[in-house]
């Protein structure tokens, strides 16, 4: 597997990004860092999708003068899919940050265990 690292560099980078984000999500108690981890997982997925649309030696998916052969252009489909993903990622991040702001205003902490403890003590 190690020998093929350099031919699959993009995919492995995407997986590494995804894994780092996932580990951050599990291991860190700070809500902001959890959100950062979530965004990193997002980025890993975008990189993965976008990189598999690339085909070596072909043109970008914008019609060049007089070339309409499908074999001349890279795959335009993943670009469209990643666009959707990025927009939804921005929206989800914004909502998560909004929730975090409210939690911080109520409990004066970003530590998820501390917040849980305070909620428990409030008796809810």
């Amino acid at each position: 597997m190690l020998g093929r690292v350099f031919t699959h560099l993009d995919g492995l980078t995407a997986v590494a990004l995804f894994g780092i984000g996932f580990a951050l999500l599990l291991l860190d108690k700070n809500l902001m860092k959890k959100i950062i981890g979530f965004s990193m997982m997002d980025s890993g997925i975008y990189l993965f999708l976008a990189s598999y649309g690339y085909i070596e030696g072909r043109l970008a998916p914008i019609y060049a003068e007089g070339i309409s052969d499908p074999a001349a252009y890279v795959n335009p489909l993943p670009a469209g899919l990643v666009l959707t993903g990025i927009v939804v990622g921005v929206s989800v991040t914004a909502v998560m940050l909004g929730l975090t702001v409210r939690l911080y205003e109520r409990y004066h902490s970003l530590d998820i265990d501390e917040i849980a403890e305070k909620i428990r003590r409030e008796g809810k």
Partner: protein, 317 residues
């Protein structure tokens, strides 16, 4: 009107200061510090009893959470490592980067590349796909952005009566202490903001001819607005961009998108009889609905970016 509002805010801030500033926080902390009587009966409580007995006063020693324990960290690390290993094995079996036989090199792709120019009039195939073939998907996306802004607006602006006062006070504080004469930032912004805005409009207008489109151009426009807001006072950007502007631009854009796409679909989504000429591919005024739709999407994205930033910065619009 504006000045009166500002004075009101400042008055409420002074009110809040006179009432002891952080009194609310201390009140809440006192309430938290009070030991609650154990609720009997529930079996779930039985397990927790042990740990809450151990730490009678939270002020001195907080309860040790399971996330601090070594076995949780070890388990989490093992799960993450296993996931990474699994995904790496999967990636290793995929075609190499840039190979001609990538998994996504399918019939659909060939169809898009062959037909986008004749059917949609777009030179940029990606724009043709996302605004024509997958137009409803993009409509949903724009709505997702709008709904996200609405959610954040709700979360950051609905408070109880006492918190409301505190929030207004903080808004006044933010306005009072914002930098008024940051010369370097203001000179740079004066020079750059028009260029950034024009570049954003260029990206949007050329979305069907060259790389770009509504989403990227809208993000650039939003960045320009954010720079302007950061460099100058709130008062200045509120001359032309307020909550009302945001509301009208976003809603009208979404409405136009919905109606245009609805018309397009009701008259035969395959351009059978839609009465919208696609013009000569390559001209700036071509591509039928693509250009207006790009503008509409750009407006929504710019408004969303600016609105999110503003709301997180001062907690209100």
């Amino acid at each position: 009107m504006m000045k009166k509002q500002k004075n009101d805010r400042f008055a409420s801030f002074l009110d809040w200061l006179e009432n002891g500033g952080n009194a609310l926080d201390e009140e809440m902390q006192d309430a938290l510090r009070e030991e609650e009587p154990e609720a009997p009966g529930k079996q779930k409580r039985e397990k927790k009893k042990k740990s809450s007995d151990k730490t009678a006063d939270i002020a001195k020693k907080p309860r040790k959470a399971y996330a601090d324990s070594w076995w949780y960290r070890l388990l989490a690390f093992a799960v993450a490592a296993a996931l990474i290993w699994l995904l790496m094995e999967a990636v290793d079996r995929m075609p190499r980067f840039g190979a001609a036989d990538t998994l996504m090199d399918s019939e659909l792709t060939e169809f898009y590349v062959e037909h986008t120019k004749e059917e949609t009039g777009a030179m940029n195939i990606v724009t043709g796909i996302i605004l024509n073939y997958r137009g409803f998907d993009t409509l949903g996306e724009t709505h997702v952005l709008f709904i996200a802004v609405c959610t954040v607006l709700l979360m950051l602006s609905i408070y109880g009566e006492q918190d409301e006062k505190k929030r207004l006070a903080q808004g006044a504080l933010e306005r009072y202490f914002e930098p008024h004469h940051d010369v370097i930032l203001q000179s740079a912004a004066r020079l750059l903001t028009p260029l950034i805005l024009i570049f954003g409009l260029y990206i949007i207008a050329n979305g069907h001819l060259s790389p770009g489109g509504g989403f990227s151009g809208g993000a650039v426009l939003g960045a320009g607005l954010i720079l302007y807001q950061n460099a100058f006072e709130y008062r200045k950007i509120e001359k032309f961009f307020t909550y009302k502007t945001f509301k009208w631009v976003s809603v009208c854009s979404l409405l136009f998108y919905s109606l245009a796409k609805g018309y397009h679909f009701f008259t035969g989504a395959n351009h059978l009889d839609s009465h919208i000429s696609i013009g000569t591919p390559g001209n700036i005024l071509s591509g039928g609905l693509l250009l207006p739709l790009n503008f509409v999407v750009g407006c929504v994205v710019a408004c969303t970016m600016y609105a999110l930033f503003t709301m997180f910065r001062k907690g209100e619009f």
